[in-house]
Amino acid sequence: MTAITLSPRARKRLINRGLDTLTWLVVALMLAPIFWLVASSLQNDGQLARGSYDLLHPTLQAFRDMWKTIDFERYFINSAIICTVAALLATAFASTAGYALARFPFRGAKPFGLAVIGTQLIPGSMFLLPVFIGFLWIKQHIGIQLFDTRVGMILVYTAFFTPVAIYFMRSFFQAIPRDLEEAAQVDGCTPFTAFVRVILPSAAPGLVATFVYAFLFAWDELLFVASLTEHNAETLPIGIRLFIGNYGQYYGQLMAAGVVATIPVVIAFFAAQRWLVRGITAGAVKG
């Protein structure tokens, strides 16, 4: 027994190595499903249906076939257009509203701030049907088709993700020193031109982070697109389920489609990672 008695120093080192190993095990476990997603996308459908794998002989066949099995391109392009435009608009609206909340103690600021959070409390199912009815009403009375159009989905998503974007932008504006506007106003800017010419450019990282954040959420949305579209404006979450349908079990292609659907958000995320992380943690720390 005496052989395994360790000095306190050695014991501490052993514990540390153990905890390091545990950390990497946890990392591996968290990434395992993603590894499996990618690994399966590189197998063929027949093998996957039998549950057999040949990881040493990957094939890109599924990535080629997935565009033919279903009209995946349509879903992908719809997602890309709707989410990009909606996230841009939400960021634009949120940048002005977030600036107002961060800088002006205007009357109604507090109720407005509360209303912004309040929107997050309304379950989507509650206003989904009225939005649908609203679309029908607009079609009847104004003649603008919104149901099953990209414009309709962009409108809905813009409104959807504006509230979170406002809080995001507000925390970025709060981090900008006030001297900046004051200096700009001394130089002859009005409050609004100071905002456009001086504050917005220095909040660029915040704008990027907010855009990416809104984009990630829009990319993920299913409830509204499932009810407010039927063909033309359908997006990825609708399309992806068709690989497993009555007419076939294309698991390889399903996983390949999953990889393709994830790539845009991974790129967006890592492009803006530093600022995004700052925005999320700042928001959470401030409440």
Binding site: L101, A115, P123
Partner: protein, 329 residues
Amino acid sequence: MSTPTLQPEVRADVTTTTEPARSPGPKRRSRPNRLPYWLIAPALVVMVLVHVLPAIGGLVISFKKFNLFTFRELFGAPWNGLENYRSILLDTDNPLHSGFWGAVSNTAVYTFWTVSGTLVGGLAIALLLHRKMPGQRVARTLMLVPWIVPSYVVAVLWAFMWQSDVGIINKILVDYTHLLGHRPIWLLGPNTMWAIVIPSIWRGLPLAILIFIAGLQAQPAELHEAAAIDGAGPLRRLRFITLPLLRPLIGVQLLFGVIYSAYQFAIPTVMFGSNPGPDADLMMTFIVRQSFSNQLYGLGAAASTLLMFVMLAWVAVWYRAFRRDLEVS
């Protein structure tokens, strides 16, 4: 919501009289400051159009007899009083009554496990990643990845892995490690709850880890060092220093975690279709199915309203518990 139209004028008069005396700056502003209202106007308009008015519409529909037959009349559909509410809450003859309560209890179970799993797991992993170690940055970045994977990809991926015969999870649990003697069926029956809880935790963990790490980094190291010198072991330091200091962060995540989980829709829907079965049917899947597959719009709206009031009650309870943490931060 209508205050901005009237109130600014009142305030503006006050500011114009006081401002010249207070700030003899180079650019004297004598006009009332309407700028903030112009700045919030676009956001306000879209929020009123897509959130507020439709939510009021939803509330109105919950008191109407609104179904396939009356749909053409839109808001002219006959009033139904509290009948929608009564039929799902109390009417034992209504077949949807038990479905509703089943969804209520499933949602409670789902929310409890998802939120507690995410917070406890997130804190534990954040503590691990807070330690200095080689490759710490890489480990932290890799840990974020599951959060970026879209919910519907999470759902199809896990449904694929949960398959009883050929899925990788049963292969590992049964064939490779022999941890289990039989093959569990994950996508049917009671296990369906775990089939949605576990992917939800998996996807939620990165955000919790991220927030907890930020909170841990903000804690003054001297506090921990002083406690260590006074002889407090790691567990006591966790209990009496780390956790109390993390309380506001735990609070924020509890608040939004519960709301987000209670409104979960995508994962069960993509995994199981519009009817996830009696063991995994959540409030949102129940409401959407009754509204859009069965055209019971009034009933769905009543259930939505009830769900919203439960969440309002949760916010009130939360506020009482965490009010003092809000003031600190």
